[in-house]
């Protein structure tokens, strides 16, 4: 082939490639654009067919209405309380457990780790009815406990951290023992600082999943005192006969924005964290 033609071919190929990628980005991002666009429209504007992309004017009152039609701040507070409680409490449970499984020498370690693996494999979609009945019997349904306690022993977290702790050379721990460091100090001053990125990954994944969670709070909560934001936003839909898409989308914006901000700030770390989550 003539080298100039080949070069031209190559050039065209590159532009097609770029064009396709831009197209993919637009398609994938479109639902987000649509949420934003709709959230600023008037109700009659949402009913036009074919729909318009750019709203006539920015109707901020949709957001005010969305806020007004639910106890938004209560839901927000509940969501934050649950997500942060799980975040903190799980560390207290899983860090020592991962350390014990990685470094401890005790009988039945394999068997006990089997329980962790089982916890990792059995989804809560299988066990939710018995767990609900358990909380019901204990009279704990009208508390935050059902939203927090089942997530504290984060089996995935134990698994990931254990993996990391096992990679730390034995000699470093021995050196610390020779330096008269207690087990707690070895964990706190040496192991955890070394495992910083894994600890961060676990926290990030747990926060995102709790913030977004719909299934679990739907089952475990029955009053606004304990409902979280996703439940609140989902309830906007059945509160009226005709769907007020503009207000619904405004409500969803409130749910999405915090996560999108986190993603904008830390998109590389988040993608890395999720890559870990897939490599089991």
């Amino acid at each position: 082939m003539n080298p100039t033609i080949e070069k031209a071919f190559h050039h065209v190929g590159k532009w097609i490639n770029i064009l396709l990628k831009v197209l993919v980005i637009i398609c994938v991002a479109f639902p987000f654009v649509w949420i934003i666009s709709t959230s600023f429209k008037t109700f009659p504007e949402t009913q036009i067919f074919p729909p318009t992309l750019i709203p006539e004017s920015l109707r901020w009152e949709n957001y005010a209405n969305a806020l007004a039609s639910m106890p938004f701040f209560k839901y927000l507070r509940n969501s934050l309380f649950v997500a942060f409680s799980v975040l903190v409490l799980q560390y207290i449970i899983i860090i020592p457990a991962a350390y014990g499984f990685a470094r401890g020498k005790f009988k039945g370690k394999g068997l006990l780790f089997g329980i962790v693996l089982l916890g990792f494999m059995i989804p809560q979609q299988v066990t939710f009815v018995p767990i609900y009945m358990m909380f019901s019997k204990m009279g704990l349904l009208r508390t935050f406990i059902p939203l927090i306690a089942p997530f504290m022993a984060n089996a995935f977290g134990i698994f990931l951290l254990r993996q990391f702790f096992m990679q730390i050379p034995e000699e470093i721990i021995e050196a610390a023992r020779l330096d008269s460091a207690s087990s707690f100090k070895i964990l706190w001053r040496i192991m955890i600082p070394m495992a910083k990125s894994s600890v961060f990954t676990i926290g990030l994944l747990s926060f995102i999943s709790n913030w977004n969670s719909y299934f679990w709070p739907l089952i475990m909560t029955s009053t606004d005192d304990f409902r979280t934001l996703p439940i609140g936003v989902s309830m906007l839909i059945d509160s009226e006969g005709q769907k007020m898409w503009n207000e619904l989308m405004a409500g969803n914006m409130l749910l999405i924005i915090p996560i999108l901000i986190i993603y904008l700030v830390a998109n590389k770390q988040i993608r890395k964290a999720f890559t870990y989550s897939g490599i089991k």
Binding site: I172, E174, A175, R177, L178, D179, S180, A181, R189, M194
Partner: protein, 346 residues
């Protein structure tokens, strides 16, 4: 400053007996090297002295105190590991300081001690760096400083130089010898490298399969091996052992560097006929491998002979070592000498 005594120490891992029954006294202030092939139990011995592992049975004393139930941090020892085992998230200073902080040494004294050791090992400029930003030699110094700052009664070193390149290793060897002289503390040093053992220790313990094969000064290790194992472990190339030459399964041994090729006819020497197979020039010396009717013999000489030729191997009777049927050293007495003269080639 203290001595270490191991009595009837046994170590078993599951089914494997690593150390069957070890008795060893390490004198106060000595530079003792535990040497042997991998799996000989030298590291296990060191780790039991450190308290990182407990003996299956037996006693370990530091001075006169039985330390078997004493935690590693409370034994007054310090250890330098092969891979240095620095705390990667701490700075050089925090690494050195960690043990002192754990022992609740007051800050002013800590600063003084750190300054002192850092001057000795030359780390003043790197105190705020993390181990990841240091070269191999610098990490080695941090590991040493971390051990020294505790002013231990005993220094334990587990192959501390094996991760360094050859040049740096030679330099550090000299530094460690000087450090030992300066501190006057007991050093126990583990290595698989006989050259390192010979050049550093004033006292060498050669181990194999958890048993002490010989324990002596470097000079005696070389000149006066008590068994075939020691004779072949020390020296490169190893001592030639010729078996089945004498009655009663006696073996004779001679070092490659003590051989004369084609000696004068008149000299009173033990002789074997051979044929030069290969020749390796090492610079000042030449390594020959020579086939004989008793097997391959190595020679290391300045003397040069032609390739691929028949030679006569000559060894002074004074340089012959005799080993009995158990491979233990025995004296070259008149009877044996007579027998040797009888088999010696003319």
């Amino acid at each position: 400053m203290s001595s270490i005594t191991l009595t009837n120490v046994k170590k078993v891992y599951g089914e494997d007996v690593i150390i069957p029954d070890l008795n060893l006294v390490i004198e106060d202030g000595s530079f003792t090297v535990l040497v042997g092939p991998s799996g000989c139990g030298k590291s296990t011995t060191l780790r039991m002295i450190a308290g990182l592992e407990g003996p299956t049975s037996g006693n370990i004393y530091i001075d006169d105190q039985d330390v078997v139930n004493v935690a590693p941090g409370k034994r007054g020892i310090a250890m330098v590991f092969q891979n240095y085992a620095l705390y990667p998230t701490m700075t050089v200073k925090q690494n050195i300081e960690f043990g002192l902080v754990n022992k609740k040494v007051p800050k002013a004294e800590r600063e003084k001690l750190i300054k002192e050791v850092c001057e000795i090992v030359g780390l003043e400029k790197y105190l705020s760096r993390k181990p990841g930003q240091l070269s191999g030699g610098q990490r080695q110094r941090v590991a040493l400083a971390r051990a020294m700052v505790k002013k231990p009664k005993v220094f334990l070193m587990d192959e501390p130089l094996s991760n360094l390149d050859a040049k740096l290793r030679a330099a550090m060897r000299v530094e460690l010898i000087q450090l030992h002289k300066r501190l006057g503390t007991t050093f126990i040093y583990v290595t698989h490298d006989q050259v390192e053992a010979m050049s550093m220790g004033d006292n060498i313990v050669l181990m194999d399969k958890g048993i002490i094969m010989q324990r002596s000064s470097p000079r005696d290790m070389y000149n006066d091996p008590q068994n075939v194992y020691t004779a072949q472990f020390i020296g490169t190339p190893p001592m030639n052992i010729v078996r089945d030459l004498l009655l009663d399964n006696y073996s004779i041994g001679f070092r490659p560097e003590k051989i004369t090729l084609n000696p004068d006819a008149g000299e009173d020497m033990f002789r074997i006929k051979g044929h030069v197979m290969t020749k390796e020039h090492l610079g000042s010396e030449i390594n020959y491998s020579i086939t004989t009717e008793y097997g391959l013999v190595m020679a290391k000489l300045e003397q040069e002979v032609a390739d691929d030729c028949d030679v006569m191997i000559g060894v002074d009777y004074a340089n012959l070592y005799i080993f009995d049927q158990n491979d233990n050293r025995t004296e070259l007495d008149a009877n044996i000498k007579k027998a040797l003269i009888a088999v010696s080639a003319q």
